[in-house]
Point group: C2
Chain length 393, copies 2
């Protein structure tokens, strides 16, 4: 059992104590001088973490709200557009675009697989009328990270606008917004940023603003141009979620103290440790090799039965205090997911793996405990290079 | 000076300690069993406070997001509709409807005045094609509360749908959603509910759901039908702002412990005390008599000069720790506003009035202090009936 619940779903993530304390600060006037300095620090912290000189606009909304904002600001009803998706959240994004009247050409990969940049290039060649491409960077539902650099090279090489869902990637995975020329990148407070849910943050390039001025999809709340006018005055267009901003402010400080490249390296190490650990006890990873996310690991149901998986997850919750996520939509009963983003480090991986082993053993699904932890330890100690010894078990 | 800032703007409001503590609870899985009980209690608490059996849907957004949700779910592009407004937020609401392609008939009252139900009746008679009416209940920018019961009688008498902006009214002012037949009522977490901003709550009648099924305005994030499907499973369609929900949960408990009718009475008393106090020292109220809000008081600039008002508000902030709000848009420089909603009681009124007096006296704008506090005390002691003695000063 855990003294406190271990929340290891792919967001919301646990909050560091410093973030919890920051979040508890008294309310202030969001139109007054009290707001200005904090707001400016948040924006500049986000820009540094995203490696961009573009504006980063904040909207009170979930990540899905941010994805809708990208659609509403970049598209016009009847316009052909390309969505390149690798799971449930990407497919939801394409649905949002259809709700707004776009003609969606949908390159929808089978769940678990990643995108091939050549497919995107070919699709764009076949549809020269498409001006804007929407791509998932990190897909929470399948544990897949796409090769956003290679995809950006193709899309920007053809002079198209590129909008990226990095809700659960940004702040954890390397993402160089300006170097890759990403026009719109959507992320959310409750993922790598170590704040509670309630805020979506969106980087917007000059070209995206230009497009927004012409795009005729209905919008008011999520309008980029209005939000920019307010942000230029160090305000938000509507009342911001102050306590979430307080938390984000402190989360960004933690990121800056660690250094964003160290944050990326920590997520890479932790992701590798989780994968090495679970495969060491015979569990199978769901995502294609080479595209496995360092923020969320999807694992195939170790049993034939969906009920057994349900029982495993319920037991982990009630008997062990470890909260993992099941599969979404058609993956329900077929996979479970471990979130490892934001406030997470090696010691959390050991706790997760050891607890998971114990629950599997108690359910008669594992004969010997300790192997996954040992494998993760070995990886932490020696890295995954050629000299890596086999786990001693 | 105040030991801590006294935040007396019309939202965000100060948070009770119990709410701050509740807000600090650890993150949980919003798709897990941990979420269900709290969510059910929040929904039923909101329904009791709003006096409705209708669903109350929650969206991660500011109050303006809720106003956009009402537009997007009730209207279709090209449809004629009526907006009855008394200030900046109502006019913003009408703009949102125009952004979504509605043909807006706009009964826009001069700022400071309220709505005449007969005008609404006449307008509806002149425009029989109008099916839906949008009305402001409590206008934060002008300190006006409309007679929503009389307006509802007219609108529902003609069989129209009625959507109400009560972002800063609900939870403070008497509002019997079902008795009045209100189809959509929008409110926000950071007003009377004593929680931080980040959540909009919207009551939706069966007739509003029916309309929503036919209304063709573009929407996904704010779609009522999808949100209802998730709420029926004790979930939200997208990740909810958990810490704001924790706070709202505790805010609702405070309201239920006090009793909603006592909450209404407290706001009525506090509103009357503020008005009596400020008029006792010669300040002029901006809103028309009989329609003055019990959650926010708008006061005319006591000087001829906008700069003097700006200086007064800045001095209150920096020298006295009292944060009041200026005027919005064309009222900037012409009024200032005191927020008295949520966590507020008699003692706060004394502190506000005494501090305001002192600042006015220090600026040479008031010759004698104490009169406003004394007037408020007298009102608190004897009520405002015929037997009320004149303040002894």
């Amino acid at each position: 059992m855990a003294f406190e619940q271990q929340l290891r779903i792919p967001g919301p993530t646990p909050l560091p104590q410093r973030v919890v304390r920051a979040q508890s600060r008294p309310m202030i006037n969001h139109r007054g001088p009290e707001f200005v300095e904090m707001f400016a620090e948040i924006i500049s912290g986000l820009k540094r973490s995203l490696r961009t000189e573009n504006d980063v606009l904040l909207f009170p909304a979930s990540g899905t709200g941010g994805l809708e904002a990208a659609v509403a600001n970049l598209l016009s009803p009847g316009e052909s557009t390309l969505f390149c998706t690798v799971g449930a959240f990407g497919e939801r994004w394409a649905k949002i675009a259809r709700s707004f009247g776009a003609e969606v050409v949908h390159l929808a990969m089978p769940w678990g697989e990643s995108l091939d940049p050549d497919d995107i290039d070919r699709t764009l060649a076949e549809h020269p009328d498409i001006d804007t491409v929407f791509v998932t960077h990190n897909e929470t539902s399948t544990g897949v990270t796409t090769d956003i650099a290679a995809i950006a090279a193709v899309v920007k090489g053809r002079g198209k606008l590129l909008a990226v869902d990095s809700v659960s990637g940004a702040g954890c995975l390397p993402l160089e917004v300006d170097a890759l020329g990403l026009d719109v990148v959507v992320t959310g407070s409750q993922k790598g940023w170590m704040a509670p849910p309630g805020l979506t943050m969106i980087s917007v390039s000059a070209a995206a603003y230009e497009r927004s001025a012409k795009a005729t999809c209905a919008r008011w709340y999520f309008d980029f141009a209005r939000e920019k006018r307010f942000q230029d005055k160090h305000q938000t267009a509507t009342t911001p979620p102050l306590s979430v901003l307080y938390a984000l402010h402190e989360g960004l400080r933690l990121i800056e103290e660690e250094g964003i490249e160290n944050v990326w390296a920590r997520h890479a190490r932790v992701g590798a440790m989780v994968r090495t650990g679970v495969t060491a006890i015979g569990l199978e990873l769901f995502a294609t090799e080479g595209f496995r996310s360092n923020t969320v690991t999807a694992i195939r149901n170790p049993s034939e039965s969906a009920d057994t998986l349900k029982h495993l997850l319920a037991t982990l919750n009630t008997k062990h205090g470890l909260i993992l996520a099941g599969g979404q939509r058609e993956l329900q009963g077929h996979i479970f997911r471990i979130g490892h983003l934001g406030m997470v480090d090696d010691s959390d991986v050991y706790a997760i793996l050891a607890t998971l082993e114990l629950a599997l053993a108690n359910l008669g699904m594992l004969s010997r405990t300790g192997l996954s932890v040992a494998a993760a330890q070995t990886l932490a100690r020696f890295g995954d290079g050629a000299t890596q010894p086999t786990p001693i078990g």
